[in-house]
Amino acid sequence: MKVGISSTGTSLESNVDMRFGRCPYFIIYDTESNDFEHIENQSRQAMGGAGIQAAQMIIDKKVGVVITGNVGPNAHRVLGSANIKIYSGITGTVKDAIEKLKKDEFKETAGPDVPSHFGTG
């Protein structure tokens, strides 16, 4: 299964970014092969709909689980429609987050936890 993590940087030592739509990078981690890649988040500079665009990218990458700091209503709706599990409110390094996910320590986020435009500016 592929995991998409909003990240402040390009390595597993980077922190989980508190923004979903406007984080600088996404780490896409494969829990079967333990391989990962980083993707620069093109939505970061979007005038509007950054969360929607980022969610679309996550879907296109065939990600099954998203780990992030906060997720807004639009991104939540798009990810939810694609049956992608969302774990938000996560802090610490990307590596720790993946370990916790593997140990099944996270609770799924039922709804958006920040209003629209939270990660702007």
Partner: protein
């Protein structure tokens, strides 16, 4: 003559100047182009007689025809369309109505319908002001579409006063584009000066003559005034920082209500402006 009232910084007194100028001149057409937050009506108290919808095209998606290929979402530069699973999700507040999703859909699953994005309100204010305002529907990003609808009501051979939105981005540029002259309202603070300079750059680029009104004169420092003098920019008026003026404003009353001598001052501004207008 089209006379616009703009500023970089918000809250410097655009509406105060535009409204009091209109009331001083008496006969003109007043247009509130600050469609995201129109407020001139609080002061001019127009008798609104006509309300007209502003509409744009929005797509809708035929579920039974759509195969969720995602071409529409890929095309949309404004992220108004997403495709998740077998579902198209449309975010109307982000749509610019370009119709691109309809063009790129290989299945013919996209149709268009008219939706309301705002209103144009027309009325009459005393003594002889034809009043127009645009009112954008909250949550929509179609500021310029509503302003473009206002454009159609601009008459010829009458003084048009345009109350512009703050800032120097597209909505401001659109509001001043046909102006023969633009009044820049600023306050004598570093923030006021910074945004004044940006506004001046915009107007220079557009070839629109301009002059400055300093509001809340007495606060801050002399830098706005020094800059204007050094660069031969006309200071049309200074409005002192006066608690009484603020009190009248907060009740929706004009500066003329407070002190009728403002009428003559604003009429003089118009005379000054006429010397410098484009055309």
């Amino acid at each position: 003559m089209i006379l616009s009232v703009a500023s970089g910084k918000g809250g410097t007194g655009k509406t105060t100047v535009a409204v009091n100028l209109a009331l001083s001149v008496g006969f003109c057409q007043f247009m509130d182009y600050d469609v995201e937050a129109p407020n001139a009506a609080f002061f001019l108290k127009p008798d609104i007689k006509h309300i007209q919808k502003v509409e744009m095209k929005h797509p809708y998606f035929l579920k039974e025809v759509c195969n969720a290929c995602g071409k529409c979402a890929e095309f949309c530069n404004f992220n108004a369309v997403a495709v998740a699973g077998d579902e198209v999700i449309f975010f109307p507040e982000l749509c610019h109505g370009c119709g691109g999703c309809l063009l790129v859909c290989p299945e013919g699953a996209v149709r268009e319908k008219d939706v309301e994005i705002g209103k144009i309100k027309k009325g009459f204010s005393k003594p002889g002001i034809n009043f127009y305002m645009g009112d954008l529907k909250p949550g929509y990003m179609r500021t310029i579409s509503v302003q473009a609808a206002l454009d159609k009501f601009i008459e010829k051979d009458i003084l048009i006063i345009i109350d512009c939105p703050p800032g120097t981005s597209c909505p401001m540029v659109f509001s001043v584009k046909d102006s023969d002259y633009c009044i820049l309202v600023t306050e004598p603070t570093p923030y006021g000066l910074n945004d004044l300079l940006i506004s001046i750059e915009v107007l220079k680029d557009m070839g629109i003559p301009y002059g400055v009104i300093i509001n809340r004169d007495g606060i801050g420092n002399d830098e706005v005034e020094n800059y204007c003098r050094k660069n031969n920019i006309k200071i049309l008026l200074k409005i002192p920082n006066d608690m009484e003026v603020a009190k009248y404003y907060s009740r929706g009353e004009s500066m003329l209500d407070y002190d009728i001598s403002w009428k003559g001052k604003f009429e003089n501004i118009l005379k000054e402006i006429k010397k410098d207008v484009r055309k």
